[in-house]
Symmetry: C2
Subunit: 344 residues, 2 copies
């Protein structure tokens, strides 16, 4: 447990001061985020806000993980692969953010290049996990010890790739209001810290350093995002950019895959699902019903804004929704654990 | 665990819709909160915002507790006394709020009447707990099973009264920015839900319905405050008023006393301590050093505002601080539990 606290604390401090330095550097070099020109009008004033805050989150997480291992831990392949997935997702996002600010347009990498980058990260993660670790290749909800439907290696790899792509894009869509994705990310990673720590304490085949490593990385992500949120709180002084949202998304997917709770992820990350579904529904309804719009604007957080909710109200209410989803997910997890004869 | 979820869910729904109704009724009757005339100028626009939202929190908690008991629970004296303390604190606050809005001044009950009201609640709680339940009358940190310094009945009662008065006043001071006290309250009650539930699952002399009752009440408070926060999020449509802050304060104190973790309370509720200390320091420095001010304004959240932080930034940053304090408190709790040979 010391390692969890150390990882979270180191990561938070690195991210807190790292974001500050980044903010200064980006402002000095006049590097700011272009804003989608078709977004709500109130958001046009946000043009020029520094972005790429995700760099601080990822740096904090890596340092938190490395330093915590000095305190009686050992590096495990499982942990390193998850960390590589986070760093990889962040790197794709960083490239995208960088092209955006240099080209001064809100498009960045063209979509195909971004997907190819994420595919490389996802396939790499799926291959390494199945090749070098004893990850369960089953479709698993919470019954990690007695998991469900065996997918086989190729099936699980396909599923893993799909989940990583879907999660990164969902977090990316959610990242449209000051602190929204960061706050929801803190809640979700806190849940995975609890899940991985529980597995480490209670499951025999998990009570090895690998499971603790996963909890450590998760705790480091919590710390890193909290440190960043300090500066990202409304009105945001800096955005996480794709660097942040892709790192958060790939981290959540990789942790749910490595803890064999990937069917729980859509519940814990219910807010991200809601945002994504709102975009899909909007597009489907628009095309099916001759240009009619289901929401005033998608993703759904813009709908609420245009419905007259002040931005900060939308943020706090969506955080509340995110917290409720995560509470339900953790409730299911612990209930299954108790049903399986463990103590919660 | 079902009871926890039911209590939290019922309380949240009651509070969510209850606050809406209250808001409508108060607006129709033009009952609004006068704002301290010596506060930051930006706050003067808040005059007239409906208050007494705490009524919805307390109603939700009582109903959540009662209804959850239909599902296989039994009422215990310990739980009922804690609930009485919450309702009592809320009632003193309600009287105060009511006088405030009727007299249209930001003073309410005169200070002495308010303290007397709280004293009645606190002494009543301390007497009932020591008379009718087997509460430990020791000064306890986390070693509930092997508690520290025996205070004796009278000593413990004095300590309990002091703690209740101090906590209610601290929460009251903290309640000065939209959603600040509510958010911190959610975090603290979530911590006490975990603590009480852990005691119920692991300690022999606690594994009776009494300990679960405490977790149920705590979960109901989480739900009730979340439902209220939906409307209280910046920019607030309604304030909790003294009804809310005194209920939250007496609830936190009563739960820490009944779970024998009252020395942990100042850590878990570190934000409330910080706010109170800032007021005390401000007064001491002012009187000692001939009218010099340590902070631009006390409580400290106004200092940050006057230092140029936007209100929402102050709120989110103080929530982060509150979360950190609670994390440290829970870390100490679980570490002691592991050190005492339990599983976390």
């Amino acid at each position: 447990m010391n390692r969890l606290l150390i990882a979270a604390a180191v990561s938070m401090i690195v991210s807190l001061f790292g974001t500050r330095l980044l903010l200064k550097w980006l402002t000095e070099h006049k590097i700011g985020q272009p804003i989608r020109s078709d977004g709500p009008e109130g958001h046009h004033t946000k043009a020029g806000t520094p972005t790429m805050g995700g760099v601080a989150i990822v740096s904090g997480t890596v340092l938190g993980y490395v330093i915590s291992d000095f305190f009686g831990g050992i590096y495990t392949l499982r942990g390193i692969f998850v960390l590589m997935c986070i760093v990889g997702g962040g790197a794709v996002g960083l490239l995208d953010d960088w092209i955006k600010v240099v080209a001064a347009r809100n498009r960045g990498l063209n979509k195909r290049a971004k997907i190819i980058g994420l595919l490389v990260v996802a396939v790499g993660f799926a291959f390494l996990m199945t090749e070098f670790t004893s990850v369960h290749t089953t479709l698993a909800f919470t019954r990690f010890d007695n998991p469900g439907w065996e997918l086989g290696r190729i099936g699980w790899m396909l599923w893993a790739v799909l989940l990583i792509i879907a999660t990164t894009n969902s977090v990316n869509l959610t990242d449209g209001l000051d602190g929204l994705a960061a706050g929801a990310g803190v809640i979700c990673f806190a849940a995975f810290t609890l899940i991985a720590f529980w597995q480490f304490r209670h499951l025999e085949n998990y009570s090895n350093p690998a499971a603790l490593d996963l909890a450590v990385i998760s705790a480091a992500m919590v710390g890193g995002i909290v440190g960043f949120l300090w500066w990202n709180a409304a009105p945001a002084q800096i955005f996480m950019g794709d660097t942040g949202s892709l790192a958060i998304g790939s981290g959540l997917a990789a942790l749910s895959l490595s803890t064999s709770t990937h069917l729980l992820l859509p519940i814990i990350g219910g807010l991200f699902v809601l945002e994504t579904v709102s975009v899909i529904l909007q597009i489907v309804v628009f095309h099916r019903f001759g240009g009619r719009r289901l929401f005033r604007m998608a993703p759904i957080h813009h709908h609420f804004e245009l419905a007259g909710w002040p931005e900060t109200t939308v943020i706090v209410r969506l955080w509340i929704m995110s917290g409720l989803c995560t509470a339900v997910g953790l409730g299911i997890f612990y209930r299954d654990a108790i049903a399986a004869g463990f103590t919660a």
